[in-house]
Symmetry: C2
Subunit: 556 residues, 2 copies
């Protein structure tokens, strides 16, 4: 079996201007980054076309740690749709460098369903992550500079600073640090830490912004901390928003690349799926919808997290109406949710799949609550047995849902025709009428209650003392009308990793609240959220090689 | 008076492919970054052409804090040379973001002698700085990950780690920090700190590399620290060099932009001029010399630092032979070296200029020691008096040196014709035969002695105990054949800021040694070197503005 990078390097790559031409965009209107990447100016976003065109969300059942292949399915589906004559763009998130050098690898799809040039996409790409990092860290430097200043000090209490520095690297040693040491010239000592760049609120803001003006306003609304008199301090109080926006002047433009079969791919933004919304920029999704009849896009983790946030936060905010949802399942994950141990993931076990189906079933029910009828894509593995597949297809059929074997990884678009046809059928039926789960105007507790009960299947929600204190602060700051961005484990519908399948008779606990006043959401924290991963004992970087002609191997 | 950014924005800008065409490079051979920036593939470097073409170094007398205008003079001279028919490329360093948001502003020239697009050049440009930062910090993460690892631990003593993290930001709070706090999951606590990205050895390495293979070797040679058994650890021991080189695969290619008059400008690399070599990449200089008859380039700070390092480190290492040196002087700096106080810098004072001329005279003498006859460029200011200018010209004439009024800032190429003619005359004379000051094979102390006595005019060199210890380590590590990169104040020929003009009867003290085993030089530290600047009370960022069309103001 060839590695992803070998397949990608052997695939034919077209000049990016030919991809732009397919989209009726002249070479002069794109900003090329080399021959195979380009930025698209925002002027091509056209609200009239967006209304006429069709948005398809790819989400998944509760995943195993390796992930169930949403990106691969999204890319493969895009190839399939284009093959059957539906002009389609895939719109994805940008990979972070942290996992590239750690364990997980990049995020450009896999096998014969990849976006290319995969090396560039997985490395610095067009510099968006670096720009976000700089904008984030400029605000940090301005905060510490203000505290250090004698004459222009706003009276920020260093103990209350909620804004952290970021670096796009897996670097555990930076999680918890003390800065400003070494004497009076080096500022005021305080406890601090670095998050990985996808966890930056600047990333979340870029992904939520409707236009450049909106971006600036949201940057100004970032909450920094309190003064010693307990007055809130925002980034605008430090006059930071223009300089931050200047650093983002190019990052705000969506990036155009191509799939291995030469179809358009827009890759833009990559916020965390736990403490943030986990989906690409509104601008990229709108750009795709302005340029082709169909857009296929994905949202992080399982549907309880990714799809719910995509629908209730991004779609409501951006006025987007998805007309089809693809729910990715794997036989491997079904075995897992039926109780298979990790070393038995690849061994056929009909009983385990039967039991594990409860997880998928709950996700199907959930998608229907949004007025949408999902199509299940069984991301095919060589270790799947026919019996297992048949079982899933039969059970889905009883729920009125198609379950289609998806061979994007091994066959590209040719392996995704049936899925593509099912998606077009769902869209054409007109039966998919998106309705959000909750109204943003509801009180925070009621919004959380709806998600917990209707999506997770919980009996109710408990709040710690700290959470109730946070709730009071949110109300005092006037942030109660924001949507909810749940920070919960992706491994279970509950807040307990070990409750696989479809847990019942459980309550969830909000331990504390965070909020993204600029991006515009409230974040109930249900467990320990990783914001800065570490490297493994043998980092992926050790096995990478680049020859004197710049050809890379060992990148995945 | 219009601001630099206003002048730049009003100037005509050509598509970068037309600049490439001037250099006989086809559009298909460049990698565009938008319409006005491109990367040049290394295949255009041609050693035969380099030998035939002419390298002109722009350096300066000992500067005031504002700088005397080397970049502006280099760009203006390039315009002038092209005007008189000498095909010329200007080859410069890339600006750092730190000063852009701090006090000093960017580094794209000034007035009517600028490189454009100045906003992009001063912001992220083509991402080289970010790539360098990531490569640097990947090594840091690998170091701390190794210390944290139970099974693959190399036994690195955390107290000996010489490798710091970097960030391209003025952020004093990161100078001195404690990392790895918060428990066993977060690594091993140790003292650390961030330098600004231009101070990274990765930057120095990029600038010293001859080709991609050399880059990788140098990255592997980075010295990290010692084991508990006092064995040296290099980046190659952590298998870091390939992954670091992968991150630098595009950064290694020189960047093509244009001057305001449409002449080619190559801007690549930007190492500090104090603890590093302070000049652009060898690859960029060679690229320029491969493409046009003349290359004008500059080196940081005054000639005692910038020119000496350029000539003894870069030219020797890269086999480059400059055929003319332009020594930039200002009447303002001459007044300063004659004893004028800061508030009198702009007031004509013939006596002060007379006294201050001693500084310029010593620099002229120094350049001659390298077999080169400098041309003095008096970077014209409206506050210069005719008497002062006449005096400088007369005194230079007695030394056999032309001193020419340079009006690049106010007139662009039209104001630099006379200087351009003088430079062509020097080159054509064949009299400039570059000889390095010292042989790299000499013992370290002898090399330092030569620089101190012949360039600085010191009576001798003293070494602290710590420096002698460092010297022993250098010899033990076999680094004694490396050239010397002096880390000294730029304000004086001596190691004492207050000794302006041409100090006499002084000795210098090497306090300690550092070394860049990858970049390939030994760094005697003569004073406190700033490696992470801070922001001023009112950061420049506060006065920046960007409108909804992306037009920037307040950037300088």
């Amino acid at each position: 079996m060839k590695s992803d990078i070998e397949i990608a390097q052997e695939s034919e790559i077209r000049h990016i201007k030919t991809i732009a031409e397919k989209l009726n965009i002249a070479e002069d209107d794109i900003e090329m980054y080399g021959k195979y990447k380009a930025k698209l100016p925002l002027k091509f976003i056209d609200e009239n076309k967006i209304k006429k065109h069709h948005l398809v969300l790819v989400t998944a059942m509760s995943p195993t740690p390796a992930g169930e292949g949403k990106t691969t399915t999204s890319i493969g589906l895009t190839e399939g749709l284009n093959k059957i004559g539906a002009q389609t763009t895939v719109v994805l998130r940008e990979p972070s460098l942290g996992p590239v050098f750690g364990i997980k690898g990049g995020a450009a799809g896999g096998g014969y369903a990849q976006v290319i040039p995969m090396e560039d996409i997985n490395l610095h790409f067009t510099g968006d992550f670096s720009a976000i990092e700089k904008a984030n860290n400029l605000l940090s430097a301005l905060i510490d500079n203000n505290i250090h200043s004698k004459s222009k000090n706003l009276g920020i209490d260093p103990r209350t600073i909620a804004w952290k520095r970021v670096m796009d690297m897996n670097d555990r040693a930076l999680r918890d640090i003390t800065i400003g040491l070494g004497g009076t010239a080096n500022g005021i000592p305080r406890q601090d830490g670095f998050n990985i760049t996808p966890a930056s609120e600047v990333m979340a803001i870029l992904c939520m912004s409707e236009n450049f003006e909106d971006l600036k306003t949201r940057l100004g609304n970032i909450y920094v901390g309190q003064t010693f008199d307990k007055q809130p301090i925002y980034a605008r109080d430090l006059k930071a928003e223009n300089a931050m926006a200047i650093l983002l002047k190019d990052a705000v433009k969506p990036n155009l690349v191509q799939t291995m079969e030469g179809n358009p791919a827009i890759i833009h933004g990559g916020p965390f799926a736990n403490i943030a919304q986990g989906t690409n920029t509104i601008l990229a999704t709108k750009m795709g919808l302005s340029l082709t009849d169909y857009v296929v896009t994905e949202a992080g983790f399982g549907a309880d997290l990714g799809a719910e946030k995509f629908l209730d936060i991004k779609c409501v905010s951006g006025g987007l109406k998805p007309e089809a949802v693809v729910l990715v399942a794997t036989i491997r994950a079904l075995r897992h949710h039926g109780g298979a141990s990790k070393d038995a993931y690849n061994t056929p076990d009909l009983e385990k799949v039967k039991a594990g189906f409860e997880n998928l079933k709950k996700h199907i029910e959930n998608i229907k609550k949004f007025g949408l009828n999902p199509v299940v894509a069984i991301n095919a593995f060589p270790t799947d047995s026919e019996e297992e597949i048949n079982l899933v297809q039969e059970r889905c059929a009883t729920l009125g849902v198609k379950a289609i074997l998806a061979h994007g990884f091994s066959k590209g678009g040719d392996g995704m025709i049936e899925l593509a046809e099912a998606v077009v059928e769902e869209v054409s039926s007109g039966a998919n009428q998106f309705t959000p789960l909750y109204n943003w105007e509801l009180p925070i507790k009621e919004k959380i209650d709806k998600i917990a009960k209707e999506i997770y299947g919980a009996d109710g929600v408990d709040y710690t003392k700290q959470a109730l204190k946070g709730l009071a602060q949110l109300n005092a700051l006037g942030l109660d009308k924001l949507p909810i961005c749940m920070a919960k484990t992706q491994k279970s519908f509950s807040d307990d990793d070990s409750l696989i399948g479809r847990p019942k008779d459980f309550r969830i606990t909000v331990r504390e609240f965070e909020f993204a006043a600029g991006a515009g959401f409230v974040i109930p924290i249900l467990g320990n959220m990783m914001r800065m991963p570490g490297l493994p004992t043998t980092p992926a970087s050790e096995n990478m090689f680049i020859d004197n002609n710049g050809k890379i191997s060992g990148l995945s």
